[in-house]
């Protein structure tokens, strides 16, 4: 009964995501494969990981867990149900001073169990005009601890226009999710070099604006 409810909730979330965004997956640099991966993506909106999650084939979706902030997903019962039961999120404590667990160890543990992860290396939602914020080091530490893992860059396009920061009503606009060429850490690769490579891999699949939006004055 509970499992049925979780499956139904997962289907409802994916259906809703399609209705609002008509989301399409572009597998540019790799194909959907049942293997341990870290999908790392640009972060503009609360819906980002739902969009990635919903374009994955169902078999992969069941074994792919988003890494998300515990403060947001433990706030109330519906969020706890969605976060823990439906998305099976790896909940990490974002505040470095207050946390008791080690986020990288939590992620590594999930990988050892055979799960894939969805990660936002910018650490927080990007509400600026720049395409990407500087990456936090979590992705590097995870790759250094589990060096065989494939890090797949994922670019989410347009979702920030669906629900701009501060708005409550989403406007249906078409979105796409592009998967780039996987990156594997090299032996003794320095942190900055690896993060640089990851960043370039992500920007390489970001579509160029055909007709750029005039910059916001606000």
């Amino acid at each position: 009964m509970k499992a049925l409810l979780e499956t139904l909730a997962a289907q409802a979330v994916c259906g809703f995501a399609w209705l609002v965004t008509g989301v399409r997956a572009n597998w540019i640099g790799c194909v959907p494969e049942k293997r341990c991966r870290v999908y790392f993506a640009n972060h503009n909106s609360h819906g980002d990981f739902v969009l990635i999650w919903s374009v994955l084939p169902r078999a992969l979706r069941a074994a792919t867990r988003p890494v998300a902030g515990a403060d947001y997903w433990l706030k109330d019962a519906p969020r706890r149900f969605l976060g823990a039961r439906v998305f099976r999120a790896v909940l990490i404590e974002r505040d470095a001073d207050k946390r008791t667990g080690d986020p990288v160890a939590q992620m590594a543990e999930a990988i050892d169990r055979g799960d894939s992860l969805i990660l936002f290396p910018e650490g927080t939602r990007n509400t600026t005009e720049t395409r990407l914020l500087p990456f936090k080091s979590g992705l590097y530490h995870l790759a250094a601890q589990r060096p065989n893992i494939e890090c797949v860059p994922v670019w989410i396009e347009n979702l920030n226009r669906v629900l701009p920061k501060g708005e409550r009503v989403p406007v249906p606009l078409l979105c796409s999710v592009s998967f780039g060429t996987p990156i594997i850490i090299e032996p003794d690769e320095p942190k900055d070099a690896f993060l640089h490579r990851a960043r370039d891999g992500l920007l390489a699949i970001a579509p160029r604006d055909a007709a750029p939006t005039p910059p916001d004055l606000t």
């Binding site: 008509g22 399409r24 347009n158 009503v169 249906p172 078409l174 007709a211 005039p214 916001d216 606000t218």
Partner: protein
């Protein structure tokens, strides 16, 4: 012949055309040397497959009846609006205006059609939404590019909601001697416009040499245009028995809607070129987006509606 058997006959005819088209595509693919990819044949096969699905959906809506057809076109409007809005260079200040289009204007327009309120649905978007949308946008206080931005949003409402809604609006017309058969009027319009698109493509592929508007749409040729319009007009005239028109009137109506449909295709291509894309979306395999399939219907529907209403309908 009853409206029911006429509908069956028409869909039977469309099914036969699709079977023949599928066989031709299969034969072309078989004749093609294996191992060499042929984008044209692949695209043709995809298009025909998508046609099967579109015809099946339309047939299902027709079988359920009036309300299902209204709901189907409301969904088509939604998909078209989503594609159109995606390509607009809107800013955060347009968010409320866009949300109003999706969640107020679109449902309201189709509810007005559902309730037969001609006096309001024919002016609701050109008058009320026209004035209401810039008010909403102005309240957000972002003045930069204001004229262009609000004109874009108004265009989206006219193209994707107002024009598309004039297809199901045909159901509200009261035509003496044609009671209970208005669904066939929709079938006539959609069939003539779409067969004209298909025939323009076929004539163009077979005999096309002189490009008609190379900057807008490189695939449109003079030969395709003339061949398509003439043959679609003849087919329209031959379908007079499902309409309230005489054969001559049906031919004239078909000529008007095919010409409007052609111009609609050109205009919508110009918009796409301006926004730097080839297709509006990817919703319909082989065709592109909903708007790629509806562009000609969008320009033909309001004119067909008003001509029919003015010359054939009575108030009621």
């Amino acid at each position: 012949m009853s409206a029911h058997s006429q509908t069956l006959l028409l869909f039977g005819g469309v099914g036969t055309i699709l079977i023949v088209a599928s066989l031709i595509a299969w034969w072309l693919a078989r004749r093609h040397p294996p191992g060499v990819p042929s984008p044209v044949i692949e695209n043709l096969t995809q298009r025909i497959k998508a046609w099967w699905i579109m015809v099946a959906v339309l047939a299902l809506a027709f079988a359920v009846g009036r309300n299902a057809v209204i709901a189907l076109f409301a969904f088509a409007s939604f998909a078209a609006l989503r594609e159109f809005a995606t390509l607009l260079p809107t800013r955060r200040g347009d968010h409320w205006a866009l949300a109003a289009l999706f969640f107020i204007v679109l449902p309201a327009q189709y509810i007005l059609i559902f309730s037969n309120w001609y006096g309001l649905y024919s002016i609701f978007i050109p008058v009320y939404a026209f004035l209401f949308l810039p008010i909403v946008a102005a309240l957000r206080g972002d003045t930069s590019h204001f004229m262009e931005r609000i004109a874009d949003v108004q265009w989206a409402g006219m193209i994707a909601i107002f024009c598309v809604s004039h297809v199901p609006a045909l159901l509200t017309l009261n035509i003496p001697g044609y009671e209970g058969r208005n669904l066939l009027l929709i079938a006539f319009l959609v069939f003539v416009v779409q067969i004209s698109d298909v025939l323009q493509y076929v004539w163009g592929k077979l005999f096309g040499e002189h490009k008609i508007a190379p900057r807008l749409s490189p695939s449109k040729t003079v030969e395709g245009f003339i061949g398509g319009v003439v043959s679609a007009t003849a087919i329209g005239a031959g379908l007079w028995w499902i309409t309230p028109f005489s054969p001559l009137q049906a031919g004239a109506m078909a000529l008007v809607v095919t010409l409007m449909g052609f111009m609609g295709g050109l205009v919508m291509s110009a918009v796409k070129r301006d926004r730097g894309v080839k297709d509006w979306g990817q919703m319909i395999e082989g065709h592109g987006g909903m708007l790629d399939r509806l562009d000609s219907v969008i320009f033909a529907a309001p004119i067909f509606f008003h001509l029919t209403r003015y010359f054939f309908a009575v108030p009621g």
